[in-house]
Amino acid sequence: MTAKTGKSFAGRFGVHIAVLVFVAIWTVPTLGILVSSLRDKDQIIASGWWNSFASSSQTEAGRLPAASAQAQKDGKYVIEGNIFGEGAKRNISAFGVKSSAPTQYTAGTAADLGDGVTLQMNADGSFVLSSPKAFEGERGQRVYFASSAPPKFTTDNYRTVLFSEGIGRSFMNSLTVTIPSTVIPILIAAFAAYALAWMRFPGRALLIAVIIGLLVVPLQMSLIPLLKLYNGVGSFFGVPSKAYLGIWLAHTGFGLPFAIYLLRSYIAGLPREIMESARIDGASDFEIFVKIVLPLSFPVLASFAIFQFLWVWNDLLVAMVFLGTEADQIVLTAKLNALLGSRGGDWEILTTSAFVTIIVPLIVFFSLQRYFVRGLLAGSVKGG
């Protein structure tokens, strides 16, 4: 390893820094929605999530109303109001008018801005800007202020999305779609993989080539014919064409090429001697498969199960085509997509919903990373 390592101290230091930067870019975005999902919804729009741990004082910028808001009072032109508008009131400790000195004046005192113009800003955010001459211009006075709002964290957002926004129900729908779609293909693929790896029959090479070809066929090719097929079947039997059974079978079909490919390359690599000695002892192919191949293939079966689980859980396209958009069928990804349309700017809803949708994959991923990586390597380092 020493041969690969840069020798100079600066070189090694640079490597640490570079990796740190990469790690930051790859984790900060996710951290952002996790932190935001736990914040008070008024605070989410009041300050960036990276400021959410900041103690009482944080500097913000604002703009006073433009000249059109002025009124005449005691011979002076005055603009009055509250910098927080209708939003949550916070405690202002200091304010200023220059970005270089945002906390020049303490709250409650009148600041002299020159030419007789004074600005007084109080702790509750109310301000009085007065001038002997009329204000002009379409842009109001820029102000900076240090406000003190204690960081407020809450699980209210989770309560809201799970029980009132329908995310809880969608979570169940996603599980309903995912688990059968993960379990059903395994056995079907395992038998096919064993036959393609260890049994001799005409057409085997062609079948393998077809499966490798199907591995890369875009899903888009299947959508329209299957949609037509499902509509036909639905109207023929008088049943709804959008049903869980349809999507279970669809995911089984779409997952099979990869399953067979992955399992076959693993099963083909099992030692020949074991199979042959079992065969000499009189075991049939069925017995060899059930008693020897299946138990030995556990790691690759686990790899495939994780892949398929993540794939189906994260899928949006198949769910949008083959399932309805009503509460009893809409899955998490589709629900999140719908929320992006209907709750566009409500970041407390969006970040929380997004975190609910990614938490299951993250748990699966962290607890079973070993199998996941193994499957990834076995599935794609062919021809390397």
């Binding site: 690969k4 960036g48 029959f201 079948l207 888009q220 959508l223 009893d328 990614i358 794609s380 021809g383």
Partner: protein, 337 residues
């Protein structure tokens, strides 16, 4: 909802039970029809041979039926539909293809797809390779890799929300709650509505896919790098090669095959990219791509299956070279049998 959970459990039991029953039953039936035990020698040999002819098909049968219904038949049907009108009733020849190449939105999608194809696989592979090499040299490399790998588990929709939050725009002078605009404003720049900037918005969407897929490239390439014989690196060091020469002239050429695999895998993914565009812009501001356009035409105005199928075929045509390459590689590996 209880009924739904019950039906899901029921399906698992029926599905798995049905598979077990089929494989076990079919196998049993074969033994009964062509018995190999308890019959005279020559009959037993004959029956064993017959069993050997039938049994593989019993094993691959269910998989073949499902693959035929869900993948093989649709490929043929989509090709047929692309020559038919919107409802699939009458033959229109190449009209759908002519429409496609004259359509502004379609041409825009093709252009965008080309840019995606040029940028995303290259960026993922390059970044993945760099990170793989760097993390190999430090003691906390495994943790770093694990964290960079993590977005691979996140759905495209989830990732889109994550990044939409980063790109969030507030008017100039307001408190920016989107990280990118906050940084820009901190350094005195103008905040931008990133996802509607003409042309460049494509890149802001691509970043999402790069963010997701770099971990994939990194893991695969990292394992390939570990397979490089140590002697070649030592020899290079003894010959006085600097780290950059070692990287470009010793390491990269030895993992060329793996780089190609990573590149093609991500290329296929890019051709199918749909969720990110749908959730971020839905093709507005000239950010349309083929897969999203296809989905759009499936349902637009009640659905135009002819045009949808045509777009699918065009995606397929782009995949075919990779498909052929994959099959050839696989044949080479198994020695062609």
């Amino acid at each position: 909802m209880a009924a739904q959970i019950f039906s899901a459990i029921f399906v698992i039991i029926i599905g798995v039970g049905g598979c077990v029953a089929y494989f076990w039953g079919a196998n049993k039936l074969l033994d009964v029809v062509f018995p190999s035990r308890g019959v005279s020698g020559s009959t037993a040999v004959d029956n064993l041979r017959r069993q050997g002819l039938v049994r593989p098909w019993l094993f691959v049968g269910p998989a073949m039926i499902i693959l035929t219904i869900y993948l093989i038949y649709p490929v043929v049907e989509t090709l047929r539909l692309s020559f038919l009108d919107r409802g699939g009733a009458s033959f229109v020849g190449l009209a759908n293809y002519e429409w496609a190449f004259g359509d502004r939105e379609f041409r825009n999608s093709i252009l965008n797809n080309v840019v995606w194809l040029a940028v995303v696989p290259a960026a993922c592979t390059f970044l993945g390779l760099i990170i793989a090499v760097l993390t190999d040299k430090i003691w906390w490399g495994t943790i770093a890799k694990s964290l960079i790998f993590l977005p691979l588990a996140i759905s495209f929709v989830g990732a889109s929300v994550i990044w939409k939050f980063i790109y969030e725009y507030r008017g100039e002078g307001q408190v920016q709650i989107g990280l990118l605009n906050a940084i820009i404003q901190y350094f005195g720049g103008q905040p931008q509505v990133w996802i509607s900037l003409p042309f460049w918005n494509n890149f802001f969407l691509m970043i999402i896919l790069i963010w997701i897929q770099t971990g994939f490239a990194m893991v695969i390439l990292s394992s390939a790098l570990r397979g490089i014989p140590e002697e070649t690196l030592e020899a290079a060091v003894i010959d006085g090669a600097n780290p950059f020469q070692i990287f470009w002239k010793i390491m990269v050429p030895q993992i060329w095959g793996t780089i190609a695999v990573v590149w093609t895998t991500i290329t296929i993914l890019v051709l199918k990219v749909f969720d990110i565009v749908l959730t971020m812009t839905n093709g507005q501001w000239n950010s349309q791509v083929l897969a999203n356009l296809m989905f759009d035409w499936m349902f637009r105005g009640g659905g135009d299956f002819g045009r949808g199928a045509t777009i699918a075929i065009i995606i397929m045509i782009a995949v075919i070279p990779i498909m052929i390459w994959n099959i050839r590689q696989a044949n080479k590996e198994t020695g062609g049998h």
